[in-house]
């Protein structure tokens, strides 16, 4: 089954979209002075990489990876989307949640101690 031009275009668009989103989020991490903005950029980077993982496991002309009856085994093997990247992404999302929560707590603690979330001000206050 060959891909039509429009399908190829859409798949390529998705891939480049993900890469550009990742690049923009890295810009946000590096260039934004606010800790909140940095954390938001980090979650965007995480999400774009997660979607990239799903994209790698994706197959065109596919069916969902669920085995209804053993009769359909051949069709399942031939057509189903690879479920493993999805399982990996699920794990990564949970870990990302924990790390993000911890970072948000630390940002709150930084705000309590310094009275600001601006990294430039924090550097000045530290002296």
């Amino acid at each position: 089954m060959a891909l039509s031009t429009i399908e190829r275009f859409l798949l390529t668009l998705t891939l480049y979209n993900l890469l550009v989103t990742a690049a923009v989020s890295i810009y946000g991490i590096v260039a934004r002075p606010s800790l909140t903005k940095k954390i938001i950029s980090l979650t965007i980077l995480g999400d774009s990489l997660n979607v990239l993982a799903i994209f790698i496991g994706f197959r065109v002309f596919s069916i969902p990876p669920e085995l209804v009856s053993e009769v359909e085994l051949e069709r399942f093997v031939g057509l189903a989307v690879d479920p493993l990247p999805q399982a990996l992404v699920l794990t990564a999302i949970v870990i990302g949640l924990a790390v993000t929560l911890f970072l948000v707590f630390l940002a709150l603690q930084v705000y309590r101690l310094y009275g600001t979330l601006d990294t430039r001000r924090i550097r000045e206050l530290r002296g």
Binding site: L15, L45, L106, V110
Partner: protein, 533 residues
């Protein structure tokens, strides 16, 4: 065989029980006791595993939930991972004993120990795992416990800021490794290290295998290059080596002293171990039989540059520090730089020497942090100029400061000398004379730094009466580590055989691959027989 899986599971179970226990019981002694008992039990288990692996001469494979390797997650323990895990467990027993003195009746004790046990579970998980994605999970387990422990004094500016920096860049490093794991899956079709290693070596290619998704990753060597670049970023971050060292001099001093000892002595080793596992076992970059041998030139250049620059840079930074814990933290960067130069050689001698240096550095660094911690506690400051001469009152502290400093410098009768000597011989054998200059220069510069610590603690003004605290945990910690530095690790005849076995297992991963493949074949054949086929 099941002892492999018990250690991390036991640690995690106790780690989650401690905070629950604190709802009912408030006695500090209970938490000290439970943690010490748990870490001792883990020490017994890991030593048993090491004895089993080294005597049988074959890696141990443990299948999680009974699923065979390419489908399920496996733990695969070879001599290198077994050795490092047992050593980690040993140093952690000393650290827990020291913690019982350092933290005493602190109200956060259950949480502190929960995180410390989680950290040990993460470390042992990293060493034992035979699965690329499980390594990611374990790196994150190790990461989040470390961030938590660095931020233990959460009302101090220094700790919160250091922990934020560490956690934020740690999260990015974790994401990059996740991407690398996904790329490995896309290119090799599985995540088991033994199977990826088999696919990397044409001699092992039993079945025809093609690139899973030709849409994106057509070229397997290019994909592997990307995987190595991404994962080495993460591993050098964990190891605190030059371009990714920036968090270390903030995070290590900000943590409570026992945690500084763990971070500097043990956690950085996990990064170096993971780099070796990937470069040597999984992709066989330095193995002429491997598909990716053509990458060896780049990898060698990168590792060598990274190691040499961090050794030289950190030794200079050491000398200019005024904070004792920061100084010791920079010394960690220097030693890990030397370890990476050893790994860059690609020879069994280089690997053996680097592993040896990792071991002597871990013991020396943990002991130095612990004894400097006593001086900091007594003099209530971290400024080197104001440190009290604790060594005059507590002979044990003075002795352990002296021994750990001299071992880290590399003076002849001590362990650090032999590991540097072996490293030197490895450089000579592979003809890298410029690295000898790096080793000697960085050691000579660092000598000044170590004497800045050594002098006030051993010969400085003795503390006055009221500043003297009781030292119980320190005794046990020092009693464990001093002989370790002096006798066990010291002796090349003792460790020589161990290191030879380790470096052979690393540079020739044939057995590692065979065990993973056998595990799969055994499972399938048993399935075939029981189904009456």
């Amino acid at each position: 065989m099941h002892a492999v899986a018990v250690a991390p599971a036991l640690l995690v179970a106790v780690a989650f029980t401690l905070p629950l226990l604190s709802l009912k019981v408030r006695r500090a002694k209970l938490f000290h006791g439970v943690t010490l008992a748990t870490t001792s039990a883990v020490l017994v288990l890991t030593v048993y595993n090491y004895a089993y692996v080294s005597s049988s001469g074959r890696p141990l494979v443990y299948r999680m939930g009974g699923w065979p390797p390419p489908l399920g997650i496996v733990y695969e323990v070879d001599p290198l991972s077994a050795l490092l895990a047992a050593y980690t467990a040993l140093v952690l027993v000393a650290v827990v004993a020291y913690s019982s003195w350092y933290l005493g009746e602190d109200s956060g004790l259950p949480y502190y120990y929960a995180l410390l046990l989680g950290l040990e579970a993460g470390l042992i998980g990293i060493y034992y795992t035979g699965d690329v994605f499980n390594l990611f999970v374990m790196i994150e387990v190790l990461g989040i416990t470390c961030y938590g422990l660095v931020a233990y004094y959460r009302s101090t500016k220094e700790a919160v800021e250091a922990s934020f920096k560490y956690a934020f860049f740690g999260a990015i490093a974790g994401l990059l490794y996740f991407l690398a794991a996904v790329l490995i899956y896309a290119s090799f079709g599985n995540l088991t290290m033994g199977f990826v290693a088999a696919f990397s070596r044409p001699t092992y290619r039993l079945i025809y295998w093609n690139v899973a998704s030709t849409l994106i990753w057509g070229n397997i060597t290019a994909a592997t290059g990307a995987v190595l670049a991404l994962s080495l970023w993460t591993f050098t971050f964990k190891a605190g080596v030059f371009p990714n060292h920036f968090w270390l001099p903030d995070a290590h001093p900000a943590a409570p002293t026992p945690i500084s000892a763990v971070l500097s002595g043990l956690v950085v080793n996990a990064g170096a171990y993971a780099a070796v596992r990937f470069l040597y076992t999984v992709f066989g970059v330095f193995d002429p039989l491997s598909e990716f041998y053509e990458l060896s030139g780049y990898v060698k250049a990168v590792l060598m540059a990274v190691g040499a620059v961090s050794a030289l840079f950190a030794s200079v930074m050491m000398v200019v520090q005024t904070d004792v814990k920061r100084l010791i933290a920079y010394s960690t960067i220097m030693h890990l730089g030397l370890v990476f130069t050893g790994f860059s050689l690609g020879t069994p001698e280089g690997v053996g020497a680097s592993v040896y240096h990792m071991l002597t550095h871990a013991a020396g660094k943990a002991l130095l942090f612990m004894s400097a911690g006593v001086a900091i506690e007594v003099s209530r400051t971290r400024r080197i100029a104001e440190l009290r001469g604790v060594g005059r009152v507590y002979k044990l502290v003075g002795l352990s400061t002296l021994l750990s400093c001299l071992s880290l410098v590399g003076l002849p009768p001590l362990a650090g000398f032999f590991s540097k000597l072996v490293l030197y011989q490895a450089y000579v054998q592979s003809g890298h004379f410029e690295l000898i200059a790096v080793l000697l220069t960085s050691s000579a510069i660092a000598l000044l730094g170590y004497f800045k610590v050594l002098y006030p603690i051993v010969l400085g003004q003795p503390p006055v009466g009221s500043e003297v605290a009781r030292l119980r945990g320190f005794g046990l910690a020092a009693a464990l580590l001093i002989p370790l530095v002096l006798i066990v690790v010291l002796n090349p005849p003792v460790v020589g055989g161990i290191l030879e076995q380790v470096s052979r297992a690393v540079t020739d991963p044939g057995k590692y691959i065979d065990e993973a493949l056998n595990s799969f074949i055994n499972y399938v054949s048993r399935l075939y027989l029981t189904s009456g086929g």
